[in-house]
């Protein structure tokens, strides 16, 4: 199990945009990809996202990650839908005992383009945004500091917990815990692994809570921030355009429903 840190620090226009501006961009991508009635919109979104990645000088890593996370999924989708699409009419080929239907291939293509846009949008925004800055900007835009604490704390705690989990695994094995053999044996071992992990970490909870309280965590009133983001006229315009694009997807869908 590997935890990846996607953010790559660079000096580029997409990097300098406020984190929330980029999030509105993701929202626009999702809305256009999934809601806008024209099936081939995602192609333009993918080209657009790639150009932004290129401008931010993360294109290679971007393409690499999107490809790796989407490939197994897309293979399954094509295999399943082109062979077993219910109501397939037009036969376009044979694969062993199975018939490939044109409708299934078309459906699989449409869905995979949407999925690709979703994955691309989410991956790109993480590649070009520092997670800590993202949380600060979200807080300034109304996100509860408590939610952002939970997210940031989880990201900080994870490597530590992974280490602890591996230590527990080794410790229990050296005490003779059976981690091989019948499935019931292995399932029983689970309890002796998860138990210590949970009890050990929950033990720290009280200390952490006290430490946070001492720093005014649940204090009422507004906070002062060290950093602030955006605010230029150009960026405000961009934000408006992105909101409009996000709305366009919804409006397009509503119109096709009505008529």
């Amino acid at each position: 199990m590997q935890i990846r840190q996607l953010f790559i620090e660079q000096d580029s226009y997409p990097h300098r945009l406020a984190p929330t501006t980029k999030l509105i961009g993701v929202l626009a991508v999702l809305s256009l990809a999934f809601l806008f009635p024209w099936h081939w919109t995602p192609i333009f979104l993918l080209v657009g996202l790639f150009l932004v990645a290129y401008q931010a000088r993360v294109a290679k890593r971007f393409a690499d990650i999107v490809f790796k996370s989407a490939l197994p999924y897309l293979l399954m989708l094509f295999a399943m839908q082109s062979l077993f699409y219910p109501g397939g009419q037009t036969e376009i080929g044979q694969l062993g005992w199975f018939t490939i239907y044109a409708e299934g291939v078309h459906y699989a293509t449409v869905v995979s383009l949407r999925i690709l846009s979703m994955i691309s949008g989410l991956v790109l925004v993480q590649l070009i945004t520092d997670p800590a800055e993202m949380m600060t900007d979200l807080e300034q835009n109304g996100l509860s500091p408590k939610v952002s604490y939970v997210i940031i704390a989880t990201l900080n705690i994870l490597p530590f917990m992974l280490g602890r989990a591996n230590a527990i695994l080794d410790a229990q094995r050296s005490r003779g815990l059976e981690t091989e053999g019948k499935i019931t044996t292995r399932a029983k071992a689970l309890l002796s692994l998860i138990g210590p992990l949970v009890v050990g970490t929950i033990n720290d909870v009280q200390d952490r809570a006290v430490a946070l309280e001492l720093r005014g965590f649940s204090r009422k009133g507004s906070r002062t921030y060290l950093q602030s983001f955006g605010g230029t006229a150009k960026e405000n315009l961009l934000r408006r355009v992105l909101w409009l694009l996000a709305a366009l997807g919804v409006v397009g869908r509503v119109i096709t429903w009505l008529f």
């Binding site: 399943m80 989990a165 998860i194």
Partner: protein, 196 residues
């Protein structure tokens, strides 16, 4: 108690500190599954545990954030399933409140309900967002049902019932044992300490 008051009662500093640990348990549990080569995911032990110790809304938020973070650091496809995890947490919390985690037998009933809710909520997501395919092995069951001429919606629902049910029964069982064996000193600090 009105809803806002109850929400406030669940989101104390103590429970907010518990959440990141619960989310990490959800994610790290995967390590043990890989090490023991078990055919389940077990990715909601932390969520159910928050449901038992704190309450439904805290558990719902824990579940949703767990999927968002999972999406951030490992697999973007996990993100839309934040909705499923939200309802899994909510269900677990409400059941715990009604005392359905007090004995092992009762927590099996809870596991069944949680699995059912999980399958009901995730089916439309899998069907409409992902064209019926997920990255887990249950997709093969879906493909098999489709091949026998069943509709996509039915195929996805049945396969996720089969895979989720076993998973959530085990999850509920483990969460029950952990909550029960927590030292009293720790358990008594949480608002819903009578849950198990």
């Amino acid at each position: 108690m009105s809803l806002p008051e109850r929400l406030k009662g669940e989101f104390t500093t103590l429970s907010l500190v518990l959440m990141p640990i619960a989310i990490a348990i959800n994610i790290v549990g995967g390590i043990f599954i890989v090490a023991l080569k078990l055919p389940i995911y077990l990715d909601s032990i932390g969520t159910v545990l928050v449901g038992i110790l704190v309450g439904p809304w805290a558990a719902a938020v824990t579940g949703a954030l767990a999927n968002i973070i999972w999406g951030l650091i490992m697999d973007p496809v996990a993100m839309p399933f934040a909705i499923t995890s939200f309802f899994i947490g909510l269900t677990a919390g409400f059941l715990a409140k009604k005392g359905y985690f007090q004995t092992f037998g009762k927590s099996m009933i809870s596991g069944f309900c949680i699995g059912l809710v999980g399958a009901i909520v995730s089916t439309p997501i899998v069907v409409y967002l992902f064209g019926g395919v997920t990255s887990s092995g249950s997709t093969f069951i879906t493909a098999y049902l489709l091949a026998t001429g069943k509709q996509l919606f039915f195929s996805v629902f049945s396969s996720s019932m089969l895979s989720d049910l076993a998973d959530k029964l085990i999850t509920a069982g483990i969460a029950f044992y952990i909550a029960r064996n927590l030292p009293e000193r720790i358990r008594s600090r949480f608002s819903q300490s009578t849950g198990a």
